[in-house]
């Protein structure tokens, strides 16, 4: 396949940045999107140019590092698929592909396609944990959890913190991410001791980081590679109201 790539290039946080066009020939349809960028980068290095900076780690869809907006869609055109798991066969020979970083005030661009997602870490730090007795692992059956609750908690636990929800949201809101974490932990008995403070503190931190307010547009859940549902946001609000009325 022969492709025309238009990629956001920005030297550093202060640089203004611009879309730069590259022609890439002989792309295999079996390459992943990131492998295609690797090929481009090898060529750029040989030509003495700076390679395109992008985040990645596991390349198997579980770490959440590889976020980028491809043709206006977070993680590209394939549903429930991270960029690293997206293959070039989703595109056609001769396609023009626009590649941009996540856009949100709370995710400043560091370089090219790399954004600073540490705001998510601070939201987790404010309440996305449980207090446990350290030492040897507890007996698994000591705390029984009903199956439907375990399933719902697990569905929400699949959030990989990639930030696609923020990138897709016209308000740059982090509600889907935060709601997935709150729902996951607040459903389980292990999360019960911090149930109220968790939701209060995580929402406060989310606001503090400069994420936008949720208007229930629903772009987030469509972009989410793990299919976190909008109902998690309803649950976050319910937990929040509950915590407000409880001391």
């Amino acid at each position: 396949m022969n492709l025309t790539l238009r990629i956001w290039r920005q030297r550093g946080p202060e640089d203004r940045g611009a879309m730069v066009t590259y022609e890439l020939a002989d792309v295999s349809p079996d390459m992943s999107f990131l492998e295609m960028l690797d090929v481009l980068n090898e060529r750029l290095i040989l030509e003495g140019e700076d390679p395109v900076a992008f985040d990645h780690d596991c390349r198997e869809g579980i770490c959440g590092m590889c976020g980028m907006v491809i043709n206006g869609q977070a993680h590209g055109p394939r549903d429930r698929t991270t960029t690293c798991q997206l293959h070039m066969r989703e595109f056609a020979d001769g396609d023009v592909i626009d590649v941009e970083p996540w856009r949100a005030a709370a995710f400043p661009v560091m370089r090219d396609l790399v954004v600073d997602r540490s705001g998510f870490d601070r939201i987790i730090g404010s309440g996305g944990y449980i207090s446990v007795v350290t030492g040897s692992a507890p007996e698994a059956h000591s705390t029984p959890v009903p199956k439907p609750i375990a399933d719902a908690a697990f569905d929400n636990a699949t959030c990989i913190g990639c930030g696609a929800c923020v990138a897709a949201c016209p308000n740059g809101s982090a509600m889907l991410f935060t709601s997935a974490k709150v729902t996951h932990l607040n459903l389980l008995p292990q999360g019960a001791p911090e149930r109220e403070s968790r939701v209060r503190d995580m929402v406060a931190q989310m606001d503090e980081e400069g994420f936008g307010g949720c208007t229930n547009t629903g772009e987030c859940t469509v972009a989410c590679p793990k299919g976190i549902p909008l109902t998690s946001i309803g649950n976050l609000n319910r937990e929040y109201l509950r915590a407000l009325t409880k001391r």
Binding site: R103, A104, N171, G212, G234
Partner: protein
């Protein structure tokens, strides 16, 4: 946003049903308009109930608009840069017109109050003659047109607003998702259509 929206929604439902009394004729409608001014008598004095209602609605409208403004400012700030490739938007038309639609509705309410409550813009403008006042306004095609546009905006606004408010207030869950969506559509169509039949009937000569 959700609570004030719910207050206004409740009012609109009652208001819409009340308006339909116009189909029972001049006397019935004027009597109804008069009754609005005397609800609660003798427990309450004169038009106290009406004024109470006006106060509640004014507070609701002002708070609703203020939080809409604050929310919009925050959201525009959180997303300062657009994508150069147009985003594929999944959201419905209703979602994307909440801000402009809200402004149209606000302008409409001002016009509407000057027309039917203050009577300054009303062509008939006779206090107590609600029926004739309504007919005189809607006999003008562009008043009716503006009215219909505003009601379409209102329908869209309610369509997203109702469902969104359900989520904000946490009454929304996976099991209720479908029913809430249906409820939002039914409410939006009912209210918009209920308000629209009156001016259309006037223009069509069914009410004169």
């Amino acid at each position: 946003m959700a609570v004030t929206g719910a207050v206004m929604l409740l009012y609109l439902l009652v208001h819409m049903l009340g308006n339909l009394k116009i189909f029972y004729g001049r006397e019935s409608f004027d009597e109804y308009a008069h009754w609005l001014r005397s609800i609660g008598v003798p427990a309450l004095h004169g038009a106290w109930f009406l004024w109470l209602m006006r106060a509640v609605l004014t507070v609701a409208v002002v708070l609703h608009a203020t939080s809409a403004y604050q929310l919009s400012r925050r959201d525009l700030k959180a997303r300062p840069q657009k994508y150069s490739h147009r985003q594929r938007l999944e959201a419905s038309y209703a979602v994307n017109t909440m801000r402009y639609g809200g402004i149209i509705i606000a302008l409409f309410i001002i016009y509407h109050l000057l027309d039917f409550t203050a009577l300054t813009l009303n062509r008939n403008g006779v206090e107590g003659a609600a029926y004739d006042n309504v007919v005189s306004s809607f006999s003008v095609w562009w008043v009716t047109l503006f009215y219909i546009i505003a009601m379409l905006a209102l329908g869209l606004h309610i369509h997203h607003g109702f469902w969104s408010a359900a989520r904000t207030l946490g009454v929304h869950s996976a099991a209720r998702e479908k029913n809430l969506k249906i409820g939002a559509t039914v409410l939006a169509v009912l209210i918009a259509a209920g308000f629209m039949v009156v001016p259309i009937a006037v223009l069509a000569g069914l009410v004169d």
